[in-house]
């Protein structure tokens, strides 16, 4: 299992969706930390606490974007992701983005 602490390993200030618009974006996070281990079938634990917060664009692109980029089912991605957060609603939100991305992909 790989553990990724967002605030320590990436940034305390996650913001926005696309890499072209900033270095602390959801796309940058996904590419740097999530895509390869998920492709390899490794379990990834994401520690969400410690940042100033998360916008919906960041979360959707970082996690929902896994479905679009890797063309993998939500079930497969969710089986490989673990979350650590004091805010359970944040984790629920991320899971929903992954499921929604899967639904959109299959439409």
């Amino acid at each position: 299992m790989i553990a990724i602490n967002v605030s320590r390993d990436f940034t305390r200030f996650p913001a926005g969706r696309f890499k072209r618009n900033g270095t602390t974006s959801g796309e940058a996070f996904r590419e740097q930390f999530l895509e390869q281990p998920i492709r390899d079938g490794r379990i990834v634990e994401v520690i969400l606490d410690g940042t100033l917060g998360y916008g919906s664009s960041f979360l959707e692109e970082a996690f929902g974007g896994l479905v679009r980029k890797l063309q993998v089912d939500a079930d497969r991605i969710l089986s490989l992701l673990r979350f650590q957060s004091n805010d359970s609603t944040l984790v629920e939100e991320i899971i929903q983005y992954i499921k929604d991305a899967d639904t959109e992909r299959k439409r």
Partner: protein, 294 residues
Amino acid sequence: MRNFLDEVGIAVGQGKRVKLDFRKTQIMYPAATILLFAEVDRLISTSSNPKPISIVQPKSQRVREVLKQIGLYELTGDKSSVVPTRKDVVFWRTAKGKDQSGQKLAVIEVVAEAVKLERGTTLLLDSLWRGVSEAVANSVEHAHKAPRESDGFQGLPETTWWMFTQVKDDVFYVVVCDLGCGYRATIGQSIPERFIAQISELFAGQNVDAIAIEAAMEFGRSGTRESHRGRGSRDAISVVEKHQNGELAIFSNSGAVQYWYVGGIQVNQKRIGLGFSINGTILWWKLPLKAPLK
């Protein structure tokens, strides 16, 4: 304000030197001030004149301190020896940037910590971050997707967004501004046309910019899963929702929509036609630092 800014812009465009006379200015409101600041920044950045705009000193000490605190003297290249010390001035903070990299917004954390120390009140930093960072991300992503209708302006090389914070009379304000094309020009890129058409029909005859804001907000709040885009507007509302009490106003070109929250529940909403265009977008949050009296 808009007529005033247009006149300043015309004069600078004609190569004239403009003096902004603050002698009679008594109060500065964040939303109006950020628009002034952003437009002055734009005009100075795009003028071939090395010093197209200067400041005539305010008589009010408070206003002098505000102008120093937000960096307007620095922007125009004017000198001011004033050192801001007033409690209703020192929480005015400025940030601006081209991209959405979060570090530039870290000033919010600084202000939140200072508010906590000074007043013992905790701002919900994570929800504030969510709303403000999304507003900035929206500006970066969308503001200059089309030229500005009024003058074709397509953005500055170094700055897309501006942000202010202020604390006054136990109220925390934060505003984010861009000088872009506005909601109406870009909502079709992240919100299904069908949804926009439904909202437009619902509010037919009302201000088209306000309708565009409303469509963006309602799509974000609706939970509809038609698209993975367009959810950022929900984040703007969540700031006041989680704070329990407060207001959000979104201004885009000639329209505005305002939301009022008490006890975490929306108690009022208003759609407004401004009668003029601000030539950009402003998101404005007002968060009381004390609960309202029952």
